[in-house]
Amino acid sequence: MQDKQAHGQLVRWLVPLAIIAFCALAIVISTTFERMPPILKRGIQPSDFPQLVAGLIILLALLSIWREPVRLTERLGPATWGTFVLMAVFVALVPVDFFLALGVFAAGLAFLWGERRPSLLATVGVMVPVLVFFLFDLAFEIRFPRGLLTNLWYG
């Protein structure tokens, strides 16, 4: 119970503070933007608007700690963590082949989420990416990045 309360307090402060840090960084970076001479600045300096918006977000984030504390609505379950791992696998496989990465992700996700029928796993992991590839390649004339499998089609 105490653990839960401590966690709630951590989230209440951590999220707004992360937002504030992000905006503070944006303001710092914006101070490095080139400044225009008055005749060319067209009303406002390029750094003015981002600083105004980031300042407003900081104000709202501070207000949220008091008025609308941030709470974790749901805890991440094993399926969510597994999905993140599969996304990492997807990112790692993209340099090998875009569609191979998509197929592995799709079949992996279906399996992770409880699908065990081989025909459906094959449909999701093979048929769907292949159909989408040909739809975009032939109908929309989209060229995909070359890779292990796409080279078989592109030559």
């Binding site: 067209r42 009303g43 406002i44 981002p50 709202l60 399926a79 799709a106 004339e141």
Partner: protein, 499 residues
Amino acid sequence: MDPFLSGLTALADPGLITLLIAATLGGVVIGALPGLNATTGAALLLPFTLTMEPVAAIATLTAIYCSATFAGAITAILINTPGTSASATTCLDGYPLALRGEAGRALGMAVVASTFGGIFSIVCLMIAAPLLARAAYNFAPPEYFALTVFGLSMLATIGDGSPIKNLIAGALGVLLATIGVDLLTSVERFTFGMPELYEGISFVPVMIGVFGISELLVQATNLHLERKQITMKAIKLPSRDDYRRVWKAILRSSGIGTFIGTLPAEGATVASMIGYNEAKRWSKTPEEFGKGAIEGIAGSEAANNSATGGAMVPTLALGIPGSPTAAVILAGLMVHGLRPGPAMFTEQANFAFAIFWSMMFVNLLFLAIGLYGAKIFARVTLVPVPVLWPCVFVFSIVGAYALDQSMFDVWVALGAGIIGYFMRLFGFSVVPLAIGLILGGMLEERLGQSMVMLDEQWWLMATRPLTLFFLILTVLALFGPSLWGALFKQRAPMKSTGE
């Protein structure tokens, strides 16, 4: 030729008709699938429309908008799970009716009320949008700036009622819109030397990420949910007695929905809630609500579908999205090089009316689809979640890539999806982020123009009546609910003491 009629001639194109039929069927499937909604569907299909002519592209997106909003009722009635959040109130009476073996009657009423609401709002759209555009034609940059600020302030009221979090999300979207080379001064901002960021962050991958990929991650936590579908013999048209009971509710909700839809950022969900509550308030038998009142379905469905036409009024006439899906459509307009606003009704009036007529056609089409095909479409709710969402991911990623054939956009979509998921996990809505990103560039441009016009004396904005009017509306939108709440809280104990 008059734009009103020349817009109608667009429907003489068999290609467009075929496309609208396909988009309507697709929209019904999207709306009927729990977890997918009109916004996600439009965001996922936006890349498919890039190779189309602008009329076909935007008509496709609006067809998905209208039909998916209607189709949410199918799952709401048959499996007690709203296909879209706008159909949440339809569950309250639709499912109890279905449990009593009257699923066909409930769906029949949903189809009729949705069609009436949709057509009513499109007639209003045809009349109101050009009038609004004409009124806005003489707006100068300060008026536009104040109007855009008002549009953004309305973000506070969307979602689950966390105004500050909504405003933070909206402002973050506006901040993201500042990334890239400033068009007025050619100064690089937040580009970190990456050429991919020179033109800023593209709307489409962000939309795909926050609406599609983040929803996939949300679905990962809902895998335990079991959906049982109630069997339905055939859909039934409402009886004469039903019509007698609901016609006032349908008419009232259509008006409410159209009005709510025209408010910036407010969409079908709010409309359906108010439509349902008003149907209950004016009903002779309010005690039946929640137990299978046919007026409840009529009130909710007429309101949510009429909000679709209403939402297109500010989207097309002012360039301010009337709902989350309208924001995706607005992004579609921009991607096709069209600039929504008053000029659209003078320079591209034929285009605008072609879109209106397409929406009218779609509403009639889903009347037919709803009456004859709802039973078939109800079966799509049985598609297993582990099969559906991997397919959504494939479409999302390929769609993000297809925009500019750039892997950078894929990483943006993936990143936006993960950020969007964590935002939702911490109680932030992703809709304001998307709308902020779309309106951010416009807001800065208008602020700059206003400052030039007012000799950098920003306080002079308050001396312009219309600008002041929009700024007062903004203050009311931001602080009105709190003030109202404080007043209500003060009066409540007095009332209880008196009793």
